[in-house]
């Protein structure tokens, strides 16, 4: 029986005020109180079709946990969530809900959808503070060893699932801290690092071994993991960590950064706390960030927090086409980011010291749809203008980093360098080697990387449980041909 409709709009999320928060690195969204969470949960009308479940890439029983919250059963809610999503505190914060679970919510047809992500975040935060770390039942050790390459959401999920199934799991991470984009890319003000660390500590507590500062392809090769190091299977979740630079004059001036570098310096290396931390980052007066995704939004908001007077977002399409989460776009606007939409840079100018002095842009208009289905931006003749900036950040997409794949000749990749893997099993062209997350899909989302990790864990288990490995041969053949 569907419930009666309550409030037509979502319970507002308490946030730090726009002005002060634009100058600090503390979390922007403060999270629901118990009352707010219960109120929001009560908005779910428990509709019959429950389309929200299919809207979630890991198929969380959304009405189930929401109902538990509405009835003040937070422990139950936490269990329902955790059974499908091992990182709910993270997904509640960073999932593009408006494209997933909330997009298809029945309530959303006429009113604002249920704030699924916000309630999810509430439950995860509540559980972290109120429930002691429960160690889930682990299957008895089965003596088999699995290597996980990369500690982003895909790798963390594989590791968490397999350790529970009784495998011995070692994560190899190139950087000195685990977490992938969650630690080097997404800033503290959107995802506190203590939350990510908490999830990693939990995996370690369950017995996952973590080896940081090991880059597969250099410190060890994929072959060596399977031979000398004696792993029975390998999962590759190395992400999409190759920055792109526009081919325009001035791209190598001092003060032109890739978003990866800008964010890594700030997040991983804590440049925003210089000189307490040693890594520097130019504190520019006027910063232009080029791009329209989450990476661009994170960079431009970081620039404000590092003290910029003007932070510009330069994006070649219109607001509707921006791939960033809606909430982040809104937050950026509130904080004073100045949007130059339908605009594209054509040249960056330098000063006599080799630094950035300004940027020339041109206006764009939307033409026919392109391959992505979005209308292609085309330059408007004679529309060029200049902006005065001293730092430029390029957030125009990520490719596949070739460090691992270039040393694994039998690992099939596509023309963009992404690893070819079976969408159902994550099997690659090499028996016993599985891959998922951004290294397969290209830059996508945290929840999709986790979903892939979950699938991979299941098929690694199937593979290692089947003495004949027969199911594998067919998939391998499919991968090789596909």
């Amino acid at each position: 029986m569907a419930k009666k409709i309550g409030s037509k709009t979502k319970t507002p999320m308490p946030c730090q005020e726009a002005r002060p928060r634009a100058r600090n690195f503390s979390e922007v969204a403060l999270g629901y109180s118990v009352e707010m969470a219960v109120a929001e949960a009560n908005r779910c009308i428990e509709c019959k079709n429950r389309p929200c479940i299919a809207g979630c890439p890991v198929e969380i029983d959304i009405p189930g946990f929401i109902k538990a919250v509405a009835e003040n059963r937070f422990v139950d809610a936490a269990h329902i969530l955790k059974s499908k999503n091992s990182l709910p505190a993270i997904c509640g914060r960073v999932c593009p809900q408006e494209e997933q679970c909330e997009k298809v919510c029945t309530l959303g047809v006429k009113f604002e959808p249920v704030g699924v992500g916000r309630v999810e975040r509430f439950v995860a935060d509540w559980a972290r503070e109120n429930l002691a770390d429960e160690t889930p039942q682990k299957q008895p050790p089965n003596g088999k060893r699995v290597a996980v390459v990369g500690s982003g959401p895909a790798g963390l999920t594989v590791a968490g699932d397999l350790i529970q199934m009784g495998y011995q799991v070692t994560i190899f991470e190139a950087l000195h801290k685990a977490g992938g984009v969650l630690v080097y890319g997404i800033p503290e003000f959107r995802l506190p690092k203590s939350i990510v660390q908490n999830e990693i500590d939990y995996l370690l507590h369950m017995g996952v071994e973590l080896q940081t500062n090991v880059v597969i392809g250099k410190s060890l090769t994929l072959d060596e993991l399977l031979s000398e190091e004696g792993f029975d299977a390998v999962f590759i979740g190395t992400g999409a960590g190759l920055p792109s630079f526009m081919k325009i004059p001035g791209i190598n001036l001092i003060g032109v950064y890739s978003a990866n570098e800008y964010l890594t310096r700030s997040n991983l290396m804590k440049a925003y706390r210089f000189p307490e931390y040693d890594t520097p980052l130019i504190r520019a007066k006027n910063v232009a960030v080029v791009g329209g995704g989450n990476t661009a939004m994170d960079s431009v908001r970081t620039a404000l927090r590092l003290g910029a007077d003007h932070a510009y977002l330069i994006y070649r399409r219109s607001r509707n086409e921006m791939p960033a989460r809606h909430e982040e776009i809104e937050h950026a606007e509130e904080e004073g980011v100045q949007f130059h939409l339908l605009t594209n840079p054509v040249e960056i100018f330098g000063n006599e010291r080799g630094g950035v002095r300004g940027m020339r842009c041109q206006r764009m208009e939307l033409g026919e749809p392109d391959d992505s289905g979005r209308r292609r931006p085309v330059p408007v003749p004679g529309s060029e203008f200049e902006v005065e900036v001293d730092t430029v950040v390029m957030a125009v997409g990520q490719g596949a980093n070739p460090v691992l794949t270039s040393t694994a000749p039998n690992l099939k990749t596509n023309k963009w360098g992404n690893i070819v893997a079976d969408p159902e099993t994550c099997a690659t062209s090499i028996p016993g080697v599985f891959a998922g997350g951004d290294i397969v899909s290209g830059g996508a989302t945290v929840i999709l990387a986790m979903g892939a990790g979950r699938k991979a864990a299941r098929s690694i288990h199937a593979y290692l449980s089947d003495p004949e490995r027969s199911s594998q041969t067919e998939i391998q053949e499919a991968v090789m041909q596909g």
Partner: protein
């Protein structure tokens, strides 16, 4: 955690550290480097692997104290630990067996060129080495390089030792003697590498340089180490660090090395003030 097992002062500001890193010690080849991250607050900085001992599981790093990070490393003592060492990074040097090469190391570049001299020597090549320093007290690795080279020329800018002048003066002399040289490897400060390339371009001798841009991750993820080589953007940490010197845009590299001058100054001053108070060691 990586323990320092031995420390050696090579020159006024130059220290040699032998540090535990068994996996890297086993894998590394000439021309490769590591990223060192001393502690939670530290920068990640690239340092060449000067030598390794797979049996002891150790690497040798030779560090010139130029700013806060390197001076801090140089104050460590045997028994101290380094939090993170990542490697071996970069492409190994291409060692052409049975060739005739000139290896040039200027300043701290001698530490970078030393493992390359050895690799050439071990592949039955003939090596003429030129090592240069501003003055005699700054000269490093002379005996080690001399022991591996057919001929070794030492130059000092001020004439306090060896031949008076620059490494390029010694190189010109070798080339004008009509000696067959298949390849020149030149490693040192950017102005030195640029000057060597000018000489060898005129003489038509292939020249390899090892570039030293500012790095962060060292794995090709940030693009901070990019340089233009032959009009193409290259990431030094994964595509290099060695490139055809005649193709490198040295102007851009020089400018980019100055990106953080202000910050570096502030960092060093702050460090030396703090350190003067707490540890009492001379800066």
């Amino acid at each position: 955690m990586h323990r320092i097992v031995r420390k050696n002062q090579l020159a006024a500001d130059v220290v040699q550290l032998e540090v535990e890193a068994p996996l890297i010690a086993r894998k590394r080849r000439a021309g490769q480097f590591v990223i060192v991250h001393l502690n939670e607050e530290a920068e990640r900085i690239p340092l060449t692997i000067a030598d390794s001992d797979p049996a002891r599981g150790t690497l040798t790093l030779i560090i010139q104290g130029v700013g806060k990070s390197t001076k801090q490393l140089n104050r460590l003592q045997a028994g101290d630990v380094i939090r993170d060492i990542l490697g071996p990074l970069g492409k190994p040097t291409h060692i052409q067996p049975n060739s005739q090469v000139v290896c040039i190391g200027g300043g701290i570049g001698a530490a970078v060129v030393y493992p390359i001299v050895r690799a050439f020597r071990e592949s039955s090549s003939q090596v003429i080495s030129i090592i240069g320093a501003r003055t005699k007290s700054l000269l490093i690795l002379e005996d080690e390089i001399r022991a591996l080279s057919e001929q070794t020329i030492v130059t000092t800018d001020d004439g306090s030792y060896g031949m008076s002048g620059f490494v390029t003066d010694a190189l010109k002399r070798i080339l004008s003697n009509g000696k067959v040289v298949d390849e020149v490897i030149a490693i040192g400060p950017v102005p030195m590498m640029r000057a060597v390339c000018k000489v060898t371009r005129e003489a038509g001798v292939k020249t390899v340089v090892s570039l030293n841009p500012i790095m962060v991750d060292g794995t090709g993820m940030c693009g901070g180490c990019r340089v233009m080589v032959g009009g193409k953007m290259q990431f030094v940490c994964v595509d290099g660090p060695e490139f055809d010197g005649h193709e490198v845009d040295f102007d851009e590299l020089t400018a980019r090395l100055k990106s953080y001058t202000q910050f570096e100054k502030e960092s060093l001053e702050r460090y030396e003030n703090l350190c003067g108070v707490h540890c009492g060691l001379p800066a």
